[in-house]
Symmetry: C2
Subunit: 286 residues, 2 copies
């Protein structure tokens, strides 16, 4: 390139304002941490032979309803909505946006990355077994937000397995080993604990069943932040969505990484974003 | 890792279902194309010294209103909405989701990546000049959708400049040269054309002004798909948001890449995703 331009001021001098509760803009160092950490998570996908796909940006409400999503998590979902025609006309004439109604589109923002992958496999046969990985932006309504620990919108990387019960269990065992080894190399201390999904009705039967026979375990940092989880679905999604493995109802399991939470945990463990980034780059070998 | 797992079926044998109009799931080859192409776009950012940030996942409606967004593009925006408390209770008891009302949250899904970056710099001084880059998922309501050419939700990479009028012009000239060189190496034929933003009122004064003195130019593939654009903002955003450069109202400009559209253009030019991927990998040198 022949054109010369005077050097720009480094972005490090600036404050990038966050737009609202639970929403952040990541300045260059934390952005670099997010990208570098996700790159390390993809090593798990490479190890287990999970090709990367790009999941859908929105999920059909009817599809989620098939999975009892609204019975279990009606409070979580952020829906995609539109201004009706009269509101569009009013806005074009300068009416205030805060006063305009919105109508549902029939779609929601994902609250976990695996839903989009599960729905995309409805009615399919996965043969002896299938693994996929994807990263997506997820959204969850929360009672309160807290820095990078608890966000309204955040990145979730998942590595998902479909196939046999044995394969589903093995996927999670392998994932657990990967996460514990990675955390050790990154200098983060994690404890492995059974957990509950964030049910709306915490005293309901499904929540009680999960507490008795946990299908979800989390990896928890020293300040109580759950940074990753391994989730055993049994054959629930296979049954609801007609996903089979060589003709039998498919079992599935997934491993999830809350990427901003790992950024948080790294800065917590190492003191500054610079130190955290140095550590991640050492582990990556670059 | 000591655990051995039987190999999974390659995902190439499967059909990954798209969830609805304008929404796609990218199978492994197109996913790889998306990632590899975006990696090439980041070369422009590296060349011009634009560090990567991660923009916010949602934008405040009030912030967009300051930019006349709803006067100009009231039809485009996909809003983030929530179920009110009575709907949450109803859903928990099994009521159908299609019948539930939703309420605005005061936030929208981005329809372009630069808005989040612009809003994050409100009231800031960028010194002699500043460049940033980010990729984000964007959403636009359209009259019709069409494969990867026209999506409801898609990825947009932007490289944005803030500072002087001369710097803003030079940013776009450099971007144009980069895009034309890259397209040549990738074997895509693009034509450079003035364009209009998708105003709601196409006969309105702002649309007419843009037609007379275009501030937007597009790079258009042989089938008419605009895959990238260079946009001159003059000092509009600087003035509306109180962004200054060494005390003077900042000028800005941005270069945008519609990443799925480049995937589309590559497959169009090279025949199959496999050939397209081979071409991209040759250019990347890996």
């Amino acid at each position: 390139m022949a054109l010369r331009t005077p050097p720009a001021a480094p972005a490090g001098d600036l404050t990038l304002l966050n737009p609202g509760p639970g929403l952040v803009v990541l300045e260059p160092q934390r952005a670099a941490l997010l990208l570098a950490l996700d790159d390390l998570f993809t090593d798990l996908a490479a190890e287990v032979g999970a090709p990367a796909v790009v999941g859908p940006p929105l999920l059909p409400a009817e599809g989620l309803a098939r999975l009892d999503y609204f019975r279990n998590f009606p409070h979580l979902g952020v829906t995609a909505a539109r201004f009706p025609d009269d509101a569009v006309e009013a806005l074009a004439s300068g009416a205030p946006v805060a006063k305009q109604p919105v109508r549902p589109t029939g779609y929601l923002l994902p609250s976990a990355t695996c839903y989009g992958l599960l729905l995309s496999l409805a009615g399919q046969d996965v043969g002896p077994g299938l693994r996929l990985t994807a990263i997506g932006r997820c959204f969850r309504n929360e009672e309160h937000y807290d820095g990078l620990r608890r966000l309204w919108g955040f990145h979730m990387r998942e590595v998902v397995y479909f196939g046999t019960a044995e394969g589903a269990r093995e996927h999670l065992a392998r994932s657990k080993e990967f996460i514990e080894t990675l955390a050790g190399r990154l200098g983060i201390e994690l404890s492995y604990q059974p957990a509950n999904d964030p049910f709306f009705d915490k005293s309901g039967s499904r929540a009680k069943l999960m507490a008795l026979d946990p299908v979800k375990h989390e990896f928890v940092a020293t300040d109580g932040t759950a940074v990753a989880s391994v989730n055993r679905h049994r054959n629930f999604f296979g049954e609801r969505l007609g996903i089979t493995g060589e003709g039998a109802v498919a079992h599935s399991s997934c491993t999830a990484f809350g990427v901003e939470r790992w950024v948080h945990a790294m800065v917590l463990a190492h003191g500054t974003p610079e130190e955290a980034l140095r550590q991640v780059r050492d582990v990556r070998g670059c």
